[in-house]
Symmetry: C2
Subunit: 227 residues, 2 copies
């Protein structure tokens, strides 16, 4: 006697199911959301505060800040007037869709245009957990070295925009921008690339224009990117 084992295709993981639900909730409220990832100290919070500062006259912006411990970053962001929710992961090395699900009800979603999610500082784990946002952005930084695309390919493959921060100290480091970009292009051809300095403000306009366009072009409910 044989038993036929049913094969069910396209089963979503629990995390992916919740990501879909988060996306639906954001779309229903008309909020465009991005996930910002990077190594520790690459400049996530600096880019976010610069972005809020530049766009707050034209966009209603909220933030979710993921950290293992402390509210240092969330405090910095909230100081720029954006409604901010802190997620302390309590040791976990990434945000996931469950954590974002818990954060969304604490934000005035109906009153926001843009939600910026700051992930935990980590160039590995966050790449594997969808949150249900519309775009993912990676911040690299000059002092980290030009070999990072080669050594952390999963992260570089799964993003829609790449910021290279701390360009103001390029001369102090042995960083070959061409070698860096070759590594990026091999993994993610045509990836939007923004070399800039959050410290001096140089190059920020390219990043801001890209983000403005992404928010403007977004059609809620359009499946688009799956991040």
């Amino acid at each position: 006697m044989t038993t036929k084992v049913p094969i069910v295709e396209n089963i979503l993981s629990a995390n992916e199911q919740l990501a879909v639900s988060n996306r639906a909730r954001l779309d229903a409220a008309g909020v465009f959301a991005i996930n910002v990832m990077a190594s520790p100290g690459a400049g996530k919070t600096s880019l976010i505060t610069r972005t809020i500062e530049a766009l707050r006259e034209t966009h209603r912006i909220g933030a979710v800040d993921g950290d293992i411990a402390t509210t240092l970053d969330a405090d910095r962001i909230a100081a720029f007037g954006a409604p901010t929710v802190q997620i302390n992961t309590g040791g976990a090395c990434h945000l996931d869709a469950v954590m974002l699900q818990g954060a969304l009800p604490q934000l005035p979603l109906e009153e926001l245009d843009l939600l910026i999610v700051e992930n935990v500082g980590n160039l590995v784990c966050p790449a594997s957990f969808k949150l249900g946002v519309h775009r993912s952005v990676l911040i690299a930084s000059v002092p980290e070295g030009d070999d990072k695309p080669y050594k952390y390919p999963v992260m570089y493959r799964g993003v829609d925009g790449l910021v290279l921060n701390k360009m103001d100290v390029l001369d102090a480091f042995d960083f070959d921008v061409d070698y860096f970009r070759q590594g990026v292009e091999a993994l993610n051809p045509g990836l939007a690339f923004f070399p800039l300095s959050c410290k001096t403000g140089e190059g920020l306009e390219g990043w801001l224009n890209w983000l403005r366009n992404e928010v403007q072009d977004h059609v809620p409910g359009n499946p688009g990117k799956d991040r």
Copy 2:
């Protein structure tokens, strides 16, 4: 009728059991081993090559290099003449005792005094996986920022030595060494601290002296630190 449930204490996880076994193997061969951890780009490979260069006349040194992809770092280390084994974790965000167990037979352990294990670039996950080595060392770097002890406390708590690399660019960054050290002291009082620059070589002697002493003072089989 009641059943008495036996309580078994001190059960080691599978990883910890293998760490004990790795330690026994290292001790049997008379090898002192350290685990070097850091964020991506903080300077793990640079510190290791500087260390091999400085100690190779007096110590027989081998290396294990953990990376998600590529052999870029292992190639750099092997170029300094140390027997080197590359572990490509294939996406995993840390080394564990199983991976080290697989690497040890590929090294001439009986001919080594010191084994340097370079973990995956990650300030979170490697802190949770013992390898069976004798000491753990963390490399922070100036461009990462002075708030990292506060934000990544688990990593800072579990190490025996702390290097602060890239001191040559201190003036280019807004890094308060006192604030950094206060955070460290609160988590790990009296932690050996070595501000240095792998680029210029300044400050390396303090680190090298500490490492020389740790190797010299080590009594194989002494339980000591459990890393």
